[in-house]
């Protein structure tokens, strides 16, 4: 597609252009005060593909996700969602893009004054006004069943374990049927069994919904299990990007050190 075609194309048309990647990050820079967090990261994720972003703590993995969903503004560079640059958009315009994205926060970020049911119903209540109360209730039940939480409708977030909170967070992230899913440390802080359950759940959801996903994680085992490709970050840069086998074959000292310690 040439530049003139791209300019002439309306955003809706661009979204329908299936050849464009779902997420394209180009030369992204971000710093907080004097601390450079991201130093020119470029990544793409296609429809139906899962990219795991790995790296040590403080290398900007979560910041990268926040930039992709527009919760932070980059210092320079661009983020394209379905071929539409979101870096200069206002809150309401970003809202249109975000309706096609689901985000699971590291600590689930459930609304602590709402029940499990109300948490999952929150995006539906605000964006599916035409939905009747019973239709909304059915949809919430369906979402909670998908994550195995259908028996906890009336519970408050404070009554749930970390793993259960993440499941509810995942159900909420899927409520608007997004075609992009961003997961920030989905297995962090969980015991190995709960972590494996979350991994299985993510795999099942990806198989069912064919979303483009980015999973930020420390957990190499989890990344290997759920991702098609892996990107390893160090000091705000992508050190290597490829399959797990490609990472294993790498001669880069940092990659070998990271894999050796994981």
């Amino acid at each position: 597609m040439n530049t003139i075609d791209q300019i002439a194309m309306e955003p809706e048309e661009a979204e329908k252009d299936s050849s464009a990647p779902a997420i394209a990050v180009e030369d992204l820079h971000k710093s907080f005060g004097s601390q450079n967090v991201l130093n020119g990261i470029s990544l793409t994720v296609n429809r139906g593909e899962t990219l795991a972003v790995l790296g040590r703590s403080g290398t900007g993995k979560s910041v990268l996700l926040r930039l992709i969903i527009g919760l932070e503004k980059p210092d320079s560079g661009s983020v394209h969602i379905h071929d539409r640059d979101i870096t200069g958009l206002g809150l309401d315009q970003l809202g249109e893009i975000r309706m096609k994205m689901g985000f699971l926060f590291q600590h689930a970020a459930l609304y602590d004054s709402l029940t499990v049911e109300q948490n999952v119903a929150f995006p539906l209540r605000h964006h599916k006004k035409a939905m009747s109360k019973s239709e909304r209730g059915d949809r919430v039940m369906q979402l909670l069943s998908e994550v195995g939480m259908e028996g906890h409708l009336e519970k408050m977030p404070s009554d749930l374990s970390g793993g259960m909170q993440k499941r509810v967070g995942l159900a909420r992230a899927l409520a608007l049927e997004p075609d992009i899913l961003l997961l920030d440390e989905p297995t962090a802080g969980l015991d190995p069994i709960s972590a494996a359950e979350i991994d299985d759940l993510v795999l099942k959801l990806q198989a069912e919904h064919h979303m483009a996903s980015i999973v930020v994680t420390h957990d190499l085992h989890s990344a290997k299990m759920i991702a098609d490709r892996l990107a390893l970050l160090n000091e705000g840069n992508v050190v290597i990007e490829g399959s797990f086998e490609e990472l294993q074959r790498s001669d880069i000292a940092f990659v070998r050190e990271f894999l050796g310690h994981s």
Partner: protein, 283 residues
């Protein structure tokens, strides 16, 4: 050498080291830093206010949240405001009785109480009580949501947090303050009369008649409606401090404290300006 001459003549360039400069530089530096922070805070507040206004006047409107906040702010603050108003009425009655008796103007006592309550003490007491109760509540609630990423989650769900969280709270404060002021005025006048009647028999009818003699709507409406500005200040400052919080539990505590301190301070400062404006436009 040339540089040194140039500096001496123009007063520009590197200052010569000396006891005065070494003392002055950090003082001036920290003073300028304070001014810079102050201006930055006001700039951020202005941007926040603009975002809230834009979110408030464009659909979808969050009526359900507005009604919840009206109930929260109004009904929960009512007992406190009424109690504070009543205490003020009693104190005013006792103080005014003592002063007016000394100057031989005891017959003016009902008018003194009525005018003091509806002109100033009712509105300002309401403003300060609501600053304390509602300012702290909003500041702490939003700060807690901010540090636990709940506000980010709202934004990530494609919902505008200025529209959902800030606009209904600020609007509820603006709408409820005049009503709460009426409650403070009523309880202040009632208890002012009780305090008066306990010392010297006087019916409520006589007290009201004597108190409101010569009063018109200009004595009553502007001071009551000026509290809408207090409501704007309390809601705006508390939402702003809450939604910009950083730093975990300590940040939540700081947001609650600063919401109360700043909104109380700005309410008192705004009162000075509003009283002057009312005297000019409603003589």
């Amino acid at each position: 050498m040339i540089d040194r001459k140039f500096s001496t003549v123009t007063g520009m360039g590197p200052a010569l080291p000396g006891p005065q400069t070494s003392l002055m530089t950090p003082v001036v530096g920290s003073f300028l830093g304070l001014i810079n922070k102050f201006l930055e805070w006001f700039g951020d507040l202005g941007i926040f206010f603009w975002r809230v206004v834009r979110a408030a006047v464009t659909p979808p409107f969050e009526f359900r949240e507005l009604f919840r906040q009206l109930d929260e702010i109004g009904s929960m603050s009512l007992p406190l405001v009424a109690l504070a108003g009543a205490a003020t009425g009693v104190v005013l009655s006792m103080e005014a009785r003592y002063s007016l008796t000394r100057f031989g103007a005891k017959s003016l006592l009902p008018a003194a109480i009525v005018f003091s309550v509806i002109h100033e003490t009712g509105p300002i007491i309401t403003g300060l009580v609501v600053s304390g109760r509602v300012g702290a509540g909003i500041g702490a609630e939003l700060a807690s949501m901010k540090v636990t990423e709940q506000i980010d989650a709202i934004e990530a769900s494609a919902v505008n947090p200025y529209r959902l969280l800030a606009a209904p709270r600020i609007l509820a404060c603006i709408l409820m303050l005049p009503l709460l002021t009426l409650a403070a005025d009523a309880s202040g006048l009632l208890m002012g009369w009780v305090a008066q009647a306990l010392v010297e028999p006087l019916s409520l009818h006589q007290f009201i008649n004597a108190g409101f003699k010569g009063a018109d709507f200009n004595d009553f409406l502007p001071p009551t409606f000026k509290t809408m500005v207090f409501g704007l200040i309390i809601g705006l400052v508390a939402c702003f401090q809450g939604m910009r919080t950083r730093g975990g539990a300590a940040g939540v505590g700081r947001a609650a404290t600063s919401s109360v301190v700043l909104s109380s301070l700005f309410v008192i400062m705004a009162d000075v300006v509003l009283v002057k404006l009312i005297l000019i436009f409603f003589p």
